[in-house]
Symmetry: C2
Subunit: 295 residues, 2 copies
């Protein structure tokens, strides 16, 4: 079976962790050891987030004017190298062979998202930084000012053919880090952040995956999440999922983008999406944990 | 023909450049446009150096204690992402499909190099830095104190099988950046820098390349280089090259490691090595420029 698994940021850098290399490697080892049986029996692509790591690079490069600062597309590429290496190290511990690909994702420079930067990234500031270079800093949920960047729709995974070739040759493929490096069709890098779940869904369709898995920090999708009446959703049709989404049951920036990405994959011919915590992934694939969405 | 081409640091980051992303991308575009005919007619792996880029990351992470500092193996991975992305962007301009692989290289943790750190990296200091954490800082050629790290012998390119699979599938492969991320056989990252030319030679042998090319800032190997009597070496047998090397005709840290790496490839069954400037690569491959070494 061909499976694409999106590892949430939490699986690779636990909340509150400083993000040193030992912590990140330990988190990757822990996540991959949970996935080992799956990796050994299937063709698997692992995708992953990079938010905290990009934030750390932004802090570092703002700390000195001595060397050139890199734009966001290049920082994405650097964190793909960093986190991809940690995951590759963890996969090697299982004895499997992996390939870690720097991955670019084509977006449309005319995407309306560029007129409406909606994704906060990097450190929090008590006031709008004066060195903002005219970039948009806004208050983020009352926690401080942050840089907001565009989050355009992914159009094409530039490396999808290389990913397919590596899967065909038997490698565990590590790719699409941080949602991929945003580029225009002509190859030019863009100042944006692509939603990891959407990019992962796009890849799953492009490489005709049988199954798409979102590994999250919550154990499934819920109705009335966080309320006394909350109720785990074990099995859903695409229609039911769309209905609950319209009823505002899924939180923005958390469960909603995953369900949206799931529906997108199913619309493009995907057969099954699972949303689950990494500890329960095997039970979830048998339908005994997590949330399974089918057409 | 299967060709491995090592791009010298100078081809990707001209001396004196600050290293901002525009400069690096322009340098990559210039280098790749020279290689375009070769890339279109052959299976090609491009390897590359990362010295200035790692130096810049060392400066940035020493500038603030706010976020976790990464060890050298992780910095290597980050620069592979950074530079690999620039090269991939340049390859895309030719219409060819590329794959940029994060590459690890196995070394022996008992390599004598670890007892004798010989490779200076990162920024120059007027005095030994107090925050050296017991790391070895030595005077580098009278220009200032620098961190010296081990430069062990590469034993195996961990991703050589993925590189072969991608070549077989028709991709231009971008790999072994900075000589590769040094790891022990068990996968543990090591504080070291692997010589790019040696790692490239090792890869060329492992993937049974027909031709190994070292792109350098000088136009060929010379006898009496820099003296009035200097004489370009156009064609050499392995035996002649070894003889001139024993006669100290090739400079340490410059031409000598390239000739050593060339001889290693030829000893392992390689048929041809070319050392040349990127402007003359096509003439050099026809034997009309550069230096060609054969068994």
């Amino acid at each position: 079976m061909r499976i694409v698994i999106a590892l949430g940021g939490n699986a690779l850098l636990p909340k509150g962790a400083k993000g040193d290399s030992g912590e990140q490697l330990a988190a990757a080892n822990s996540a991959i050891s949970r996935l080992e049986p799956l990796l050994k029996q299937n063709e698997v692509v692992l995708t992953y987030g990079n938010g905290p790591q990009v934030g750390n690079l932004l802090i570092q490069q703002q700390a000195t004017g001595e060397v050139a600062k890199m734009p966001l597309d290049v920082l994405d590429a650097m964190t793909q190298g960093q986190i991809g290496y940690f995951i590759a190290s963890a996969v090697s511990m299982t004895g499997l062979h992996s390939a870690t690909l720097i991955t670019r994702v084509v977006v449309d420079p005319d995407d309306a998202a560029f007129q409406n930067p909606s994704k906060p990234i990097g450190p929090f500031y008590a006031a709008k930084p004066e060195t903002g270079n005219g970039k948009p800093y806004f208050m983020d949920a009352g926690r401080g000012y942050r840089l907001f960047v565009a989050s355009p729709e992914p159009v094409k995974i530039r490396e999808h053919d290389a990913i397919s070739a590596l899967l065909d040759s038997g490698f565990v493929v590590i790719a699409v880090g941080g949602g991929g490096i945003p580029i225009a069709k002509n190859g030019k890098g863009l100042e944006a952040v692509i939603d990891k779940d959407r990019a992962t869904s796009l890849l799953a369709g492009e490489i005709r995956a049988d199954l798409l898995v979102f590994v999250t920090s919550v154990d499934s999708a819920y109705l009335d999440f966080g309320k006394k009446t909350q109720k785990a959703l074990r099995k859903l049709s695409a229609q039911e999922a769309a209905h609950h989404m319209a009823g505002n049951h899924f939180a923005e920036g958390s469960m909603k983008p995953k369900v949206e990405a799931a529906l997108q994959f199913l619309r493009k011919g995907g057969k099954k999406v699972v949303i689950c915590a990494i500890e329960e992934i095997e039970a979830a694939l048998s339908g005994n944990a997590g949330t399974t969405i089918t057409p």
